[in-house]
């Protein structure tokens, strides 16, 4: 089945530093989404990005479909960025089923 691997598994940053989170997947992604999970548990969609580059605020997502990888770049990190970031992939055009990676746990310290 579809494999989704995220790296690093965890990351500690000093406030103001940048971060690059990686997502690699075993089959071509028809759909790809990045999520942020608050420390309290709430999941928030950051990007729906099956191909190309998207920006919002300090976040940039780049997906290279034919290389089966996506990245999430966080610039000028803040303590409020702390939490877990998940990549989710759907490689089937028919049934809209996502497979999630194990996540990257980010801690930003002041």
């Amino acid at each position: 089945g579809q494999q989704v691997q995220q790296s690093p598994a965890s990351l500690v940053l000093q406030e103001g530093e940048n971060a690059e989170l990686q997502c690699n997947f075993s089959s071509t992604a028809t759909r790809l989404q990045w999520f942020y999970q608050h420390p309290g548990g709430r999941l928030v969609s950051l990007f729906y990005n099956p191909s190309g580059t998207k920006h919002t605020g300090r976040l940039t997502s780049t997906t290279v479909t034919n290389e089966r990888r996506s990245s999430l770049h966080i610039s000028s990190s803040q303590t409020t960025d702390s939490g877990t970031y998940f990549c989710a992939i759907d490689h089937n055009t028919g049934n809209y089923k996502y497979v999630f990676g194990a996540g990257t746990r980010l801690k930003v310290i002041a």
Binding site: V4, R31, A88, K97, Y98
Partner: protein
Amino acid sequence: EAAVTQSPRNKVAVTGGKVTLSCNQTNNHNNMYWYRQDTGHGLRLIHYSYGAGSTEKGDIPDGYKASRPSQENFSLILELATPSQTSVYFCASGTGEQYFGPGTRLTVL
């Protein structure tokens, strides 16, 4: 953004008991999903639905049933709860982009 709500938010159940988790969405999405998340892991798909009356097995359906009585509502049913089903359960709706509810923390004693 789609509004997805779940109830209850927290539940303690006994082994062998029946548990029903409910999900409601107000944005008229055809597709709805139930996932579980275990400590330190990503989400795994239990059941999903393409619309009222439809339920499909996800990647880990054993021990769970689902019900989609209407476009808005999707329930996850544990007929005989076991301690291994202690987890946080998330409901989602949408197709290309999925929107998640706040989660239900279930503890089976």
